[in-house]
Amino acid sequence: MLGDSRKAQEVFHATLREAAQRAARGELPSEPFWLFRDARWRCLEATKSDLQPESLEIDEHDVAAEAPSQIGRLDPMQLAIWISAAPDPQRSALALFYLDEFDYREVLDLAELKLSELSRFLGNGRRQLQAWLDAKFPQRSEV
């Protein structure tokens, strides 16, 4: 979500500290996923003052059969940075879907999205990542 491990750690610790304090006071919310919702808002708050990624026309390629091998050559941090560079709420959708592996109903609830929006964000995200992979590892045979 943040693309910066130091900031991510700060948000992580702040979220858990707050949760522990609320638990000690017996004030834990009953709604599911409140911790993730809280963490998401803290992440968005932490990047509020940073330069925001813009919704640009990014190259998009259809997902290719050889994508898994291309992805396998990526460094995990590169993927994290790529996701964090997406504009929100696409960034939240990608992070929740790929990093936390929530199912689509949970992502809709957490990121307050409609199904059509989530579908578009994920579909575009895949094609954009594929385009980036193609640019980075140009082994794909053009048809």
Partner: protein, 257 residues
């Protein structure tokens, strides 16, 4: 139009298909997957997602963050104390309900503690006594003890005898009536403290038909009225008056109390 909308919806769902087969999927998602399954596009998407997921699992978790999960109690659980438990609304509600049930049970138990065969009828007759007016009875000016013959001769009621403790009391009136169970009841009004006497059949054993006996005098109470009941020869006699046990006590034989 509807078909197009349905296809669009299926496509939207397929784009959000779970990465792992272990993840739960609702009916609409399962349906979308079963339709898209086998298509090259969907297969590529699934392989793509799984490859990304594998890569995500390789993202190193900083040691400081991992520490949070090494502790047994990440979030200190608040201990369930007696104080907290007692304040719990559910516990309070259950406690009140149990107290009410126990109260009703104790009330009923105490109410029936002094029950005896015929006590229910005696209580009903106390209600009759409270609502009876002198004009409702046939005027009779005699000693109460002499009415046994009248009940036998006129109404065919055997053993409807007034006990000797009350036999000398002067009557104002009397009547014989049937209660709601068709039992024949004799009612006598005497001048002494506006007292009323009732004679009614004793309760009987449902199997043998024998009268259920009880010794001495027993008290019943109803709406400010008190009755002293005794049984003799299968017939119960009740002396009833407005007041308490102590108002009737002087009329009863001390040895039988």
């Amino acid at each position: 139009m509807k078909l197009l909308s349905s296809m669009r919806s299926q496509r939207a769902l397929l784009n959000c298909a779970p990465i792992s087969a272990r993840q739960s999927a609702d009916r609409s998602m399962r349906s979308a997957i079963s339709r898209g399954d086998g298509s090259a596009e969907f297969t590529n998407q699934q392989n793509f997602d799984r490859a990304v997921a594998r890569l995500v699992r390789l993202i190193p978790i900083p040691a400081e963050s991992a520490e949070w999960f090494s502790e047994k109690d990440l979030v200190p659980t608040s201990r369930l104390t007696w104080k907290k438990m007692v304040r719990n609304p559910a516990v309070v509600a259950i406690s009140i309900a149990v107290a009410v049930i126990a109260g009703v049970f104790v009330f009923n138990f105490l109410g029936h503690l002094n029950d005896f065969p015929g006590s229910a009828t005696a209580r009903k007759l106390l209600g009759v006594a409270a609502s009876t007016r002198p004009v409702m009875l046939d005027p009779v000016n005699a000693e109460a003890g002499t009415l046994s013959d009248l009940f036998f001769m006129k109404h065919g009621l055997e053993h409807y005898d007034v006990p000797e403790e009350f036999a000398d009391f002067v009557t104002i009136g009397c009547r014989v009536f049937e209660d709601d169970e068709s039992r024949r009841i004799a009612q006598i009004w005497v001048s002494e403290k506006r007292m009323q006497f009732f004679l009614f059949p004793a309760e009987r054993d449902s199997k043998t038909g024998a009268a259920l006996r009880f010794p001495g005098w027993r008290y019943v109470h109803q709406e400010g009225w008190t009755g002293a009941v005794t049984e003799h020869n299968g017939v119960c006699f009740m002396a009833a008056m407005r007041g308490h046990d102590k108002d009737l006590e002087p009329y009863l034989k001390p040895a039988d109390k």
